[in-house]
């Protein structure tokens, strides 16, 4: 693990998101989905972005990929630097060339992400004919190779099949094949295994980790599953109401969380290895994005909240090298956890 860290630290970040802001215009007013998110990923590194629904984890990824629905969505500030180039100010054509070839995405629901009226072989082959200008025959051969690479049995025969003819796990493999077709530098996986059964989830996460090592890709894993994160991630960014509330290495975070929200999340999941007592439940609900509380957005649900939390928005305080928490009382939280 440490070795991997030193290697990663030496490299320049592949992706550097700086102070990103995204809003949606809705009937109920402006929903502030992402409010100043910054994170970076290096080659070979896995960053897990953890959060509940509405935390802004997927919207951030969509803004990075340039697939945000706009309108109603709008990027209102920030930079997305890919190898030092700002993707947000880049022309559409230049950006399209990066997307797919250098930067690609794996979606949660493979059935709706794949084209239902095109055979999977043709969909995979399209990647090569569009980006590399390959002939139909060559791109078809490449497609079959890719399907073999993600271990789809009888790939040559199945290349002519349509997405609905595959099982959920096999479809997810095809999604992965498509995302990795052009050997991108960075892959964003948005809940890649949430719709799958555990035994299939284990197969897919294994495959993803193997391919990541092989190509030395950076991986952003967007998920709400604390178990999956503990299994594969190097670093974690925990999001709440469109902000990162804590970032740390995966070992530090699970050993001693420095934000009350993270403490609550870890306490609220039942464990497989022992029965446990009553679960710790975070009271209340996540805030509406059109009406985020003043001060710390977590203050109405926080057991530690004081007067200052209701008035002053906590910045990300440095807790330790490479570790930060957006809580006025991070020290106390950390002390209690440790």
């Amino acid at each position: 693990m440490t070795q991997q860290y030193e290697k990663a630290a030496a490299a320049v970040p592949l992706l550097d998101v700086r102070d990103l802001h995204v809003e949606f215009r809705t009937r109920d007013g402006v929903a502030k989905a992402v409010n100043g998110v910054s994170y970076s990923v290096r080659a070979g590194e896995t960053l897990a972005v953890l959060g509940e629904s509405g935390s802004g984890k997927s919207v951030t990824a969509q803004a990075v990929m340039g697939i945000l629905d706009s309108p109603p969505g709008r990027i209102t500030g920030g930079e997305v630097l890919f190898r030092g180039q700002d993707l947000l100010t880049m022309g559409a054509e230049a950006r399209r060339r990066i997307r797919g070839a250098k930067l690609s995405m794996i979606f949660q629901d493979a059935l709706s992400a794949l084209n239902p009226v095109m055979s999977v072989g043709a969909q995979l082959g399209e990647m090569f004919s569009v980006h590399d200008g390959m002939t139909r025959k060559d791109s078809r051969d490449k497609a079959v190779q890719l399907m073999e690479r993600v271990r789809i049995p009888a790939a040559a025969e199945r290349a002519g099949d349509y997405p609905h003819q595959f099982s959920g796990g096999m479809r997810q493999r095809i999604m992965i094949a498509m995302a990795l077709a052009l050997e991108p530098d960075l892959v964003i996986a948005d809940e890649p295994t949430t719709a799958l059964d555990v035994t299939v989830q284990a197969q897919i996460m294994d495959l993803l980790a193997e391919l990541q090592r092989e190509y030395n890709m950076g991986l952003i894993l967007i998920t709400h599953d604390l178990g999956v994160v503990a299994d594969v991630a190097d670093r974690i960014a925990v999001m709440y109401a469109g902000r990162i509330v804590e970032t740390a290495s995966v070992h530090e975070l699970y050993a001693a969380p420095a934000h009350p929200y993270t403490v609550g999340l870890l306490g609220s999941i039942p464990r497989l290895d022992h029965k446990g007592k009553e679960l710790y439940a975070i009271k209340g609900l996540p805030p509406s994005l059109t009406d985020i509380p003043a001060g710390c957005p977590f203050n109405p649900r926080c057991p530690r909240a004081q007067a200052i939390c209701r008035t002053d928005r906590p910045p990300l305080f440095d807790v330790a090298p490479g570790r930060a928490s957006a809580c006025h009382f991070w020290k106390e939280t950390l002390d209690d956890a440790g």
Partner: protein, 360 residues
């Protein structure tokens, strides 16, 4: 006090399940969905064997968890117990009475005591009805439970019991969050004071922080009203947390059944072992040390299940015997008569304990 009784029951039951009278006994339950061909003259060309001979008991005040992957038939079991589907064969005894044979008034009376909480809090509540009408609707069918004048008060009590503001009776489902809607679903399930609640994936659509709230609520209600839960879920950690006993299903069959300790700490069926080892544990320190059993392939189609043991096509222990002979759900001969947690029912010819979930 409620806690103490529950613990006593649990202890008694782990020792000798035969001593207590089960509230629900399921025997050789089978549900085959016919596959037909032709438009005008439909002929049956096969059957999807969704549930293919399942037996288990549910005791008063306990939670029996049923786990398994999609397509294993766990939701069909729920529908059969609710008599929403007609069983192809087999029996379900509720207090000694076979409910699969009942109809009309007798069935209606039994249904009052067996209620259900559904998975999806968005589609299981009628969007055009107010919360008060949704929770109060069971009283229309069973007016004996709450006389007409009392209903509104009773609905408000139920809202209070599940932790919602009783003043919300006139609101519509869309005005509530997912977790609150699931509370409404639970209140509706409780309305008729049932003895058994069948919960089909009741928390899998909810966020983690809200999930914990709903699970705590369900545990509290169980103690308060001495409910029996049949808790169907695919999340093995949640099932362990809430269940007294657990049954593992695979392709329409029960693979293994026992107390939570027996199943999680001493699994003897290879499928249970693979399933448990595949669950990610929220502990990064454990990731290097854990042994993972990665199964190959997908679950076979229930329309054409493998001969003999259904799991043999994905099993690393499979031998010729497994293709020829269907293993029965029984205490493995290896552990028969022994006083060990390994001595619980498992449907495998080569059943043997393998601990896969870090030492307990």
């Amino acid at each position: 006090m409620a806690d103490a009784t529950k613990q006593a029951e649990q202890a008694g039951q782990a020792g000798a399940p035969g001593q207590r009278e089960p509230i629900l006994q399921v025997r050789n339950l089978v549900k085959h969905f016919p596959l037909t061909q032709g438009l005008l003259f439909k002929k049956q060309v096969g059957a999807v064997k969704a549930v293919d001979g399942i037996s288990f008991d549910l005791y008063q005040g306990e939670t029996l968890g049923i786990v398994g992957e999609s397509g294993c038939g766990k939701s069909t079991v729920a529908k059969l117990l609710m008599t929403l589907e007609t069983a192809t064969s087999g029996e379900v005894f509720y207090k000694g009475q076979d409910i699969t044979k009942l109809s009309g008034r007798a069935l209606k009376a039994v249904r009052r005591n067996i209620q259900m909480v559904f998975q999806d809090p968005y589609t299981s509540l009628n969007p055009r009805m107010t919360v008060g009408d949704i929770i109060g609707e069971p009283f229309e069918i069973h007016p004996e439970v709450a006389p007409k004048g009392d209903r509104r008060k009773r609905v408000q009590e139920l809202l209070d019991v599940v932790g919602l503001n009783p003043e919300y009776v006139n609101r519509y489902p869309h005005q509530f969050s997912g977790g609150q809607r699931q509370r409404i679903g639970i209140a509706r399930g409780l309305a008729l004071n049932p003895e058994i609640i069948i919960c089909d994936e009741p928390v899998s659509a909810l966020d983690v922080s809200v999930q914990a709230q709903v699970i705590n609520l369900m545990e509290r209600l169980q103690d308060e009203f001495n409910l029996s839960y049949l808790f169907i879920a695919h999340d093995l950690s949640i099932v362990r947390h809430i269940s007294d006993r657990v049954g593992v299903m695979y392709l329409g069959k029960m693979a293994e059944i026992g107390t939570d300790t027996q199943i999680y700490d001493y699994p003897t069926h290879p499928y249970t072992q693979a399933l448990l080892s595949a669950v990610p544990v929220p502990d990064p320190e454990a990731r290097e040390g854990r042994e993972r059993i990665i199964l190959t392939g997908d679950v076979p189609s229930p329309a054409n299940p493998p001969s003999g043991c259904r799991f043999r096509t994905r099993c690393w222990k499979a031998e010729d015997k497994c293709a020829e002979e269907m293993p029965l759900l029984a205490v493995p001969s290896l552990y028969e008569g022994e006083d060990t947690p390994a001595a619980h029912e498992s449907a495998c010819h080569f059943a043997e304990v393998k601990q896969v979930v870090g030492a307990a």
